[in-house]
Amino acid sequence: MRNTTLSIALAGLLLGFAAPSATAGGWKKLDGQKMPPISAKAWLNAGKKGADLSSLRGKVVLLEFFATW
């Protein structure tokens, strides 16, 4: 599974974003829409007060859903 994921990731880096069929798996097509809210309460590396999402304004954001396994 991990190798498959890595292969898809490498292919994506070479070819641009992977074809939706390769990674979509139920993920919503949100192109052109505002980034849906991030409502997690526990954060790391985001300062004592937690993540200030307003500070992302004017920045390019890469939002990744992941797991450590």
Binding site: A42, N45, K59, F66, T68
Partner: protein, 265 residues
């Protein structure tokens, strides 16, 4: 663990150019601290979301498939999804205002530079103005340069506001206008922001969009509360349908329609 390694690489490479990485996992904060921050030195934002409240906005309930990334431009708009691509990231970063001055300015401008680095561009612009006619050419040239950077930042933010208006994203537009009037006080753009706010305040279309957006936020909260359980999605479905019916043609109605399509039957 390979899937988290590339995030730190991207973070190191592009953070100073304006990329912000947010990694969301449904694992515990303790595990993420040990596995990503301590073991891999991950310095980007990491969110622990065991209740899957965030992911509900991005994936059809009941479906899984990680890793999966979304790339969002400077206006907060999703531009692509799937696997992060360096080329696309670089392309988007070209349009981002880089606040770095790139060189040291004359010590006379210390206070102005300090204000600039704090993001108080109006104060920096005013402080630099006092040195524009200085006899020392280095000082006057540096003062001009600093003012130009303030104006460039102002123009970038003006672009964000205009983009937001085009997208009918008025909640963000109002927040931007408030920020501009504070950070660029005394500059021409602050007057522009005040006039733009007045114009929007008087618009019936904007008022409707704002009401619809508020309703959409509530509907999304109901959807997140259902945690993907089809039987519990009734209130969210009803709320989305109400938005479509009550606020036709609005941005929120379009998003409510899309949300309805993605809810499991």
């Amino acid at each position: 663990m390979n899937q988290v390694g590339h995030l730190e690489e991207l973070n190191k490479k592009y953070y100073d150019k304006g990329l912000r990485i947010i990694a969301v996992s449904n694992e515990s904060i303790g595990l993420l601290q040990a596995q990503v921050v301590e073991a891999r030195g991950g310095k980007y934002w990491i969110a622990s979301d065991p209740e899957r409240a965030t992911v509900a906005g991005y994936i059809t309930p009941g479906r899984r498939g990680i890793p999966h990334a979304y790339l969002i431009d400077a206006t907060g708009t999703v531009v692509s999804e799937g696997v992060p691509d360096s080329g696309r990231i670089e392309q988007l970063l070209e349009g981002v205002f880089d606040p770095a001055l790139g060189r040291d300015l004359h010590k006379s401008l210390k206070a102005a530079v300090k204000s600039y680095e704090k993001g108080d561009y109006g104060k920096a612009h005013a402080a630099a103005a006092r040195y524009l006619e200085n006899e020392d050419r280095v000082i006057s040239s540096d003062a001009t340069f600093l003012q130009e950077r303030c104006v460039a930042c102002a123009n970038f933010n003006k672009g964000l506001v205009e983009g937001g208006i085009k997208q009918k994203d008025f909640t963000t537009v109002y927040a931007d206008l408030k920020m501009i009037s504070k950070k660029f006080a005394g500059m021409e753009i602050a007057q522009w922001a005040a006039a733009k706010k007045k114009e929007l305040d008087g618009s019936a279309e904007v008022a409707t969009e704002m009401k619809a957006w508020k309703a959409l936020k509530k509907a999304r909260s109901k959807e997140a509360g259902a945690k993907g359980k089809a039987k519990k999605l009734g209130p969210a479905r009803k709320a989305y349908k109400s938005i479509v019916k009550k606020y036709p043609g609005t941005r929120a109605a379009k998003m409510a329609e899309q949300a309805l399509k993605s809810l499991p039957q």
